[in-house]
């Protein structure tokens, strides 16, 4: 009896005590990705010195057929080491409008690197600069190996590192007792075998950290044990598998993540830790206490995004999602994506009329698909995640919050998320500054955000409206399924369109869509169609002098037919831009009849002529507003009876506000 009681007690203890690190725990029964890398990291945060001290065991598998004689690593934190780094030179000390605070430098040192059999590689570490000739940049290292890693073989390295976190202005670092820790550990690059993406021979793809660039890494498994002060709330990529009190005022938490290509974590003493469930996903919101009333907006938008992507793209495979609300003073950490963890951004007092919190949440969640699950190279082809994701953000936001109200919903002034996105492109001073298909660090003259995010979303929407949403969804679902947990490139993306569009539309759009992508992705031209003029003239008999019986007879014009007037209507449409897209023209006559004419959009101009008993009322090119890439939609229509009431409305409003403004003069005069 006693032994039974003892056994029951032991069983109870086993059930109650949370599993400690080392307890075998898996998320997926079968690997979802190739799992080329495995990281086991133990790291300790010093909240006084703002430093990290870590031990990393990396296992890398050579999946190529090459003998790999060296390894390359990213040391991202060195971007913040001094003003001579490539990142800081490009950013001039700022990022997304936030300046780095004085003295907030950050860095990372690899203090030891050894192979599993004890060979010390530390002395062989060499900084390299594959993208520029900046010898002060220390964001990439190469490590020559004594013995190459043979095809199919793995190499295990034990790496010790110390890092000083920067004061947050660009994604990662600290602000007071708030920590958002991303790009923080020595991270191996991607070895691309010949034929993979653009590689003609096997090579490391390991770019320096630039102002505009983000990341690229192989999928794998992460086991990370983080030691932080005991009162800190911690969130991280993956799932919590163990927690222990170390008895010295600190605790360690172990997280396990599978089939991801990065690992980030956050810690703060002030977080409110909230959670809700959406189907199989536990949504955790780490909220700043003074903004706790905004948490429901995060939950609502995160659930809406999960629902939307699940329906229109594919299944979110992970069991959890953490939404981080950055601390006041650390807004530079906001609006960033990491596997299963996103940082959003809210502000006290900002009501739901301004949907910034929702937009950021939906956008960053979307990256779980376009970046997280489909792992394109963000350095070289940022549009493949940022642009596609921006497109899906606008779709989801418009569906959930309204196409005219998804960004701003104030009395008398509303704006949809797509409308704001489109402005990002159409409002550019120089829309031709670069093609979208430009490596992120090569947007030297500007336009990275406008072209990579906004123009891509605009051309994707244009394409969707041309080929139809069902076809678009089929294509994007296929692209997602084919390329999840892989590294696709532009060629792979276009190939899916070229495969499916002819299937659904035959040759309506040609044999393939290369002509479309050549213009919008690889070209810099703009699109602008104009309804130039409309007119209807009464058909009359010819007038003037006519030869008749050897004489010149004068003829006066007569109506076309007594009692049945006819009008010649001419609708002139012009192509003002260089981009050529198929469209149509809708002509409405006074009796309400409408005629729609297709136009291939190729010529500089085209006129449509009609002879009918009614005059034209109005005409419109692109009546379905499919070509949202058209930079001026206001010139797409003409009417015989222009609506002047709206003009009066704004004239009257303007008059009123000017009267008010002028009356301010009485305060001094």
């Amino acid at each position: 009896m006693k032994s039974i009681r003892r056994s029951l007690t032991a069983l109870l203890i086993l059930l109650v005590i949370p599993p400690l690190r080392g307890a075998a725990q898996t998320i997926f029964r079968e690997p979802l990705s190739p799992r080329i890398v495995t990281y086991a990291i133990s790291v300790s945060l010093d909240p006084v010195e703002k430093t990290l001290t870590g031990k990393e065991t990396l296992t890398w598998r050579n999946t190529s057929s090459d003998r790999v004689g060296e390894l390359q690593f990213h040391l991202y934190l060195n971007a913040f080491k001094n003003s001579a780094s490539t990142f800081m030179k490009g950013s001039r000390g700022g990022h997304r409008g936030i300046q780095m605070a004085g003295g907030g430098w950050g860095w990372i040192d690899v203090t030891s690197m050894k192979t599993a059999d004890g060979e010390d590689l530390t002395g062989r570490i060499e900084f390299i600069h594959p993208d520029d000739d900046n010898d002060k940049d220390q964001t990439v290292i190469r490590v020559p190996l004594s013995k190459p890693v043979l095809p199919g073989q793995t190499i295990k390295l034990n790496i010790d590192f110390t890092a000083k976190l920067p004061r947050i202005f660009a994604r990662t670092g600290y602000y007071k007792d708030y920590y958002m820790i991303g790009q923080w550990f020595p991270k191996i690059g991607v070895y691309e075998a010949a034929g993979q993406r653009y590689a003609v021979k096997g090579q490391w793809n390991c770019h320096q950290f630039h102002t505009n660039t983000e990341f690229y890494a192989d999928y794998g498994v992460y086991d990370v044990e983080m030691t932080v002060p005991k009162d800190y709330v911690l969130g991280a990529t993956g799932i919590l598998v163990g927690e222990k009190d170390l008895g010295d005022g600190t605790k360690s938490l172990s997280y396990h993540a599978e089939d991801v290509h990065d690992f980030a974590w956050t810690a703060s003493a002030s977080y409110l830790d909230l959670s809700e469930q959406w189907k199989h996903v536990k949504i955790r919101v780490l909220m700043q206490p003074q903004r706790s009333h905004q948490a429901k907006r995060y939950f609502e938008s995160a659930k809406a995004a999960l629902e939307y992507f699940d329906r229109h793209v594919g299944k979110y495979p992970y069991p959890n999602l953490t939404v981080v609300d950055p601390a006041y003073g650390a807004s530079g950490a906001g609006g960033m994506e990491y596997p299963t963890l996103i940082t959003a951004g809210s502000m006290w007092g900002i009501g739901s009329e301004l949907k910034f919190a929702e937009i950021v949440t939906v956008h960053e969640f979307g990256h779980e698909y376009w970046y997280g699950l489909v792992g394109n190279n963000e350095f070289e082809e940022a549009w493949l995640d940022e642009g596609i994701n921006q497109y899906y953000e606008t779709r989801a936001m418009n569906e959930v919050y309204g196409s005219k109200t998804a960004a701003v919903d104030l009395p008398g002034f509303t704006a949809g998320d797509f409308e704001v996105t489109r402005l990002g492109y159409t409002g550019m001073r120089n829309k031709k500054i670069a093609p979208i298909a430009t490596p992120a660090w090569m947007f030297k003259g500007g336009g990275y955000g406008n072209l990579t995010y906004q123009k891509t979303a605009v051309f994707m929407t244009t394409l969707e409206r041309l080929i139809g949403r069902p076809v678009m969804d089929t294509i994007m679902k296929t692209y997602f399924e084919r390329w999840k947990f892989k590294h696709p490139c532009e060629r792979d993306f276009v190939a899916v369109f070229n495969e499916f569009v002819p299937k659904y539309h035959g040759t309506k759009f040609g044999r393939n869509l290369d002509w479309f992508f050549d213009q919008v992705l690889r070209g810099t031209d703009i699109c602008d169609y104009e309804l130039t003029s409309i007119e209807s003239r009464l058909v009359t008999s010819p007038e003037g002098l006519f030869d008749s019986g050897g004489k010149k007879v004068s003829a006066a014009p007569n109506d076309s037919a007594r009692g049945a007037k006819l009008y010649d209507t001419r609708v002139l449409v012009s192509r003002l831009g260089e981009i050529k897209l198929p469209t149509s023209v809708l002509v409405r006559f006074e009796n309400g009849d409408e005629v729609r004419q297709a136009w291939d959009g190729q010529a500089r101009w085209v006129d449509f002529n009609f002879r009918r008993p009614e005059k034209v009322a109005w005409a419109m090119v692109d009546p379905d507003v499919s070509l949202v890439i058209d930079v001026n939609l206001n010139n797409n229509s003409k009417t015989m009876e222009p609506e002047r009431v709206p003009i009066w409305k704004y004239t009257v409003k303007f008059l009123f506000w000017i009267q008010n403004f002028l009356s301010l003069g009485s305060m001094i005069g």
């Binding site: 700043q288 003074q290 006041y328 003073g329 502000m347 006290w348 007092g349 005219k404 701003v408 009395p411 008398g412 002034f413 509303t414 704006a415 949809g416 409308e419 704001v420 489109r422 402005l423 159409t426 409002g427 109005w618 419109m620 930079v631 001026n632 939609l633 206001n634 010139n635 797409n636 229509s637 003409k638 009417t639 015989m640 222009p642 609506e643 009431v645 709206p646 003009i647 009066w648 409305k649 704004y650 004239t651 009257v652 409003k653 303007f654 008059l655 009123f656 000017i658 009267q659 008010n660 403004f661 002028l662 009356s663 301010l664 003069g665 009485s666 305060m667 001094i668 005069g669």
Partner: protein
């Protein structure tokens, strides 16, 4: 005389001069109309016979608006440049009108156009010199105060623990910035009043008198100003409610709102007279008493019983 009495005197005097208020309103409208027509011309050029403006009827359609701005911003900028020019002209006109307003108000007589414009002419150059002097003081003070106050606020917000704290710091900074600006504008009004009542000519002396009055009679002067400020604030709140509830979504509602807007502007003109009349009443009363008498008055409930 209590502050409430000065307030009610101002209210009565302004209300009893509808013709003068109408003249002020009319001049404001005359200055604004060419600008509104120029704006209308920009809209007509931009949209021509396009159907796009129809989408702007319900509310400001963001897409139509953004395409308009992308292609016609330069034209709009020209109009906005004209607005600034007319604003300068308007300040000079207001300077001109102030003499007329105070002439009518000081006489306690009914408005006549002849008296009004005679007063405008009589004080124009004197007021214009005051306008230049106070304009300079205002700009210099605003710049200095802005630099100091906002730099201080910036420093304080760096260590703020939340955006709520930051918001309060910035709000306090804004009030601290507004206070001297408001005092200078009040001093400007009292300088004009002194000039008219005592038929003075020196702008510098009157400037000193204006500041002396505001500083010495700070509490009643500021209390009256704040009390009177409630009137335009209330008027604007009423206007906003009407604007939001009526909207401008059809020809008739645009016409209705036009009438309401113009009534509102008449009331704005009325507030100009109201402010000067209230300040004149307070000035007359306080200047007729020795300064010590005010100082001796009880502070808390007696602020309005000087």
């Amino acid at each position: 005389m209590s502050i409430l009495q000065a307030f009610s005197t101002g209210f009565r005097r302004a209300t009893s001069e509808p013709k003068m208020v109408f003249v002020l309103y009319l001049l404001n409208l005359i200055l604004a109309i060419p600008l509104a027509l120029a704006f209308r011309s920009v809209l007509l050029t931009a949209f021509g016979s396009s159907m796009a403006p129809a989408a702007m009827m319900e509310s400001l359609d963001f897409t139509v608006f953004q395409d308009f701005m992308n292609f016609h911003y330069a034209n709009l900028q020209t109009v906005l440049g004209q607005v600034l020019s007319v604003f300068v002209l308007s300040m000079i006109v207001q300077t001109f009108l102030a003499g007329g307003i105070l002439t009518v108000l000081q006489d306690q007589a009914k408005y006549t156009s002849a008296d009004f414009f005679k007063g405008c002419g009589a004080y124009f150059f004197r007021f214009f010199r005051l306008f230049l002097l106070f304009g300079l003081i205002l700009v210099l003070t605003a710049v200095v105060v802005a630099v100091v106050v906002f730099a201080l606020a910036e420093g304080l917000t760096e260590n703020a623990s939340s955006e709520v704290t930051e918001l309060w710091i910035r709000l306090v900074a804004f009030v601290l910035f507004l206070l001297p600006v408001m005092l200078i504008m009040m001093a400007g009004d009292y300088a004009k009043i002194h000039m008219v009542l005592h038929d003075q000519r020196s702008a510098f002396r009157m400037c000193g008198k204006g500041f002396a009055f505001v500083v010495r009679r700070f509490l009643p002067a500021i209390a009256l100003e704040l009390l009177m400020l409630l009137v335009p604030v209330l008027l604007f709140a009423v206007y906003l409610v009407l604007d939001l509830s009526i909207g401008m979504t059809s020809g008739p509602t645009i016409a209705v709102m036009f009438v309401i807007q113009q009534l509102y502007m008449m009331l704005r003109a009325w507030t100009r007279v109201f402010f000067l009349a209230g300040e004149l009443a307070l000035y007359r009363n306080l200047q007729s008493r020795p300064f010590a008498a005010f100082d001796a008055a009880p502070v808390a409930p007696g602020i309005d019983k000087v």
